[in-house]
């Protein structure tokens, strides 16, 4: 995935190369591999050792394409050139064989922030049906096929589990 730190005008390509088990990972940033050990992690932050150096990061104000991190007391904003929405879309039935299915299902657990359609609306594949908040990030759930919204299965502010139906589209 591509990351950018605007403040210092630098871009990075970063990914996990290998999960070694025991909380040890190999990650790659640009051309260099690094050893990373997770010491503790929760929704608000992470403590880890990167190349024999301890770091503590807090995650603030996360969205799918921007994340504010305070790392070792230093605030840094990172832009993610990511395809989270597409990932969600694909796994909600938006790609391939799932086209025939009636029900649009949530692929993540989350809170319903807003619903963008009403029953009876005509939608096209890829239209935003609703927005969920998960891990403090807002993620759009998009129609997996063209059709008419037959019923909406969720309510605003309600919580949906992974796999819960969002809407039926016929």
């Amino acid at each position: 995935m591509d990351y950018k730190i605007t403040d210092i005008e630098k871009s990075f390509d970063g990914k996990i190369v290998e999960n070694l088990g025991n909380n040890d990972y190999v990650i790659k940033i640009n051309d260099n591999e690094h050893k990373l050990k997770i010491i503790s992690m929760n929704s608000t932050g992470i403590e880890f050792i990167l190349n024999q150096k301890y770091h503590k990061a807090k995650y603030l104000d996360q969205s799918t394409n921007e994340i504010n991190i305070v790392i070792d007391n230093v605030p840094i904003t990172i832009n993610r050139h990511t395809h989270f929405d597409e990932v969600v879309f694909k796994h909600s039935g938006g790609a391939g064989a799932g086209n025939a299915q009636l029900s649009l299902k949530s692929q993540i657990p989350g809170k319903v922030v807003s619903i963008s359609v009403a029953e009876g609306d005509s939608v096209k594949k890829g239209d935003v049906i609703c927005t969920l908040e998960s891990m403090k990030m807002q993620v759009s759930v998009k129609a997996h096929k063209d059709g008419v919204v037959k019923s909406i299965k969720i309510k605003e502010t309600a919580t949906v589990a992974k796999g819960d139906p969002i809407a039926d589209i016929e």
């Binding site: 210092i8 970063g14 990650i27 880890f48 995650y59 790392i71 070792d72 969600v88 891990m135």
Partner: protein
């Protein structure tokens, strides 16, 4: 003998007073506003009384309510801390009338110190040099303008009732003078309900150097060395140190002698501070007496070995000061950084809110006076001073490097702080060389340098930040792509 002290204050200074009282076996009574139920001073005191709403005028400035608590709790004495009622002679008088020991000067002496005009008069009589300016109060803006033109711009307009940077304005010409006159008057009326203005020559490249002194009810008086407090923003001190890099032993004694005369001239009892401007030509001009314990008293405690709150209690008990001037020896070097909740880049605007996590620095030669604890709140109702970080060293360099290490260790989540600025200042050659003046920040472009330092810090931390972002992103992706239940790649649950 004082056995129970009410602390008419909050925050770190209330805790500071409680600490000494505890060590001396003296009971303490805290007072608190609606905003302070959960504050540390409430938790640490022997007793705690609620005194009203969050706004200071409805709680910490409410003399009648505080008197009521003193009566109900059976306190012998009141410690006013700094700010709030600490320099209010009406309150001191109210305590005297009700046979409660006010830990500070007598009301009349406080009144004299607080009245910049009368105080200046007293100093002239005692041969303590003061800054050129109006012989007394100016009658109006016209009068101020006349004097300003006599002594030459820039001049300073000062409310007699101001202090700590409030009620002061520096003006460079007649137009600014007239605007400044209005706003100083307004501020003073807003703060204490009255206004009276002095005009003084504004000296450039001056240093703010002050002397701690103590005088007992038997007339014994000592100075406890100087503190240099030149690093300021908007006339508010940020960093203080002792000894001052430009005060040698001869100067220390000579000015110290003036300070002792000044304290006697106003019949001062208990601890006080005499503030001086030290002009670029080496002259010291008396500015005012702060008739209370100062924020920056810990640096004096470090180099003198004294517990100044204990000394205040001794004097308030009518005891003679238990040492002579000649017994006092300066030991080492101390620096204080005032850790404020403020955004340096928003012109030091206050930054308030919950503080979920805090790490307080410690170590040899490190002292941190603070009300912070994990889960506390920085209130918008009170001043922005969250903590005083103080370090001591055998040499100036040792105190400086210890301060830098402690600043690096200090973690305060949730609010902006002045810590990054202090790191830039303490690392600067100008600070190391002692090139101090009250316009230090502007003179050496410290805010710009801070910007550069912060960018460098971000460069240094960028790889680690990207690593944290990778883990965050990959975890999120994995949650979308597979069932959380059988996603064995991840032991962490981020919900």
């Amino acid at each position: 003998m004082i056995e129970k002290v009410l602390i008419a204050n909050r925050g770190e200074i209330a805790l500071r007073v409680i600490r000494t009282c505890k060590a001396l076996g003296i009971k303490t009574v805290a007072v608190y506003s609606d905003e302070d139920y959960n504050s540390m001073h409430v938790k640490q005191a022997s007793e705690a009384y609620h005194i009203g709403e969050a706004a200071p005028s409805k709680s910490y400035l409410n003399q009648e309510k505080i008197l009521e608590v003193m009566m109900a709790s059976g306190t012998d004495a009141v410690h006013p801390g700094y700010g709030f009622l600490s320099e209010n002679d009406d309150f001191a008088r109210l305590c005297e009338k009700n046979k409660i020991i006010f830990i500070g000067p007598k009301a009349d002496s406080m009144n004299l110190c607080g009245d910049k005009m009368k105080c200046k008069d007293a100093m002239l009589k005692a041969k303590v040099p003061t800054v050129p300016g109006s012989p007394g109060l100016v009658t109006d803006a016209d009068d101020a303008e006349k004097i300003a033109n006599e002594i030459g711009y820039p001049v300073m307009l000062k409310s007699v009732y101001g202090g700590g940077g409030r009620g002061i304005r520096i003006v460079n010409n007649d137009k600014e003078l007239r605007e400044g006159y209005e706003s100083v008057t307004g501020e003073s009326i807003a703060a204490v309900g009255k206004s009276a203005i002095l005009v003084e020559k504004f000296l450039e490249k001056t240093r703010h150097i002050e002397y701690q002194f103590a005088r007992d009810t038997h007339g014994n008086v000592v100075h406890i060395f100087e503190r240099e407090c030149s690093i300021q923003r908007r006339n508010q001190k940020l960093i203080e140190q002792t000894p001052s890099p430009i005060v040698d032993e001869e100067t220390r004694s000579r000015v110290g002698e003036l300070v002792r005369n000044a304290a006697t001239a106003v019949d001062y009892t208990n601890l006080g501070t005499a503030e001086f401007l030290r002009a670029d030509n080496g002259e010291f001009y008396f500015i005012e007496i702060n008739a209370r314990l100062q924020v920056e008293h810990p640096i004096t405690e470090f180099v003198s070995g004294l517990d100044l709150v204990k000394l205040q209690l001794d004097i308030a008990n009518g005891e003679p000061i238990p040492f002579k001037q000649s017994d006092l020896k300066m030991n080492g070097y101390a620096i204080e950084c005032r850790i404020n909740a403020e955004d340096t880049f928003l012109d030091f605007a206050p930054s308030t809110g919950p503080v979920p996590d805090v790490t307080i620095p410690s170590g040899p030669g490190v002292r941190c006076d603070t009300y912070l604890y994990p889960g506390c709140t920085v209130s918008p109702f009170y001043d922005s001073l969250m903590a005083k970080l103080v370090t001591w060293g055998q040499t100036f360099e040792e105190s400086r490097t210890r301060m830098l290490a402690a600043l690096n260790d200090f973690y305060i989540q949730g609010v902006e702080t002045s810590i990054p600025l202090y790191k830039t200042i303490l690392n600067s050659e100008e600070y190391k060389n002692g090139e101090l003046s009250t316009d230090f920040l502007k003179r050496f472009d410290m805010i710009d340098r801070l910007t550069t330092d912060l960018k460098k810090e971000k460069e240094e931390k960028s790889e680690a930040a990207i690593a944290a972002a990778i883990i965050h992103s990959e975890y999120f992706k994995s949650r979308v792509q597979s069932n959380a239940a059988n996603n064995s790649n991840w032991k962490y649950n981020l919900d």
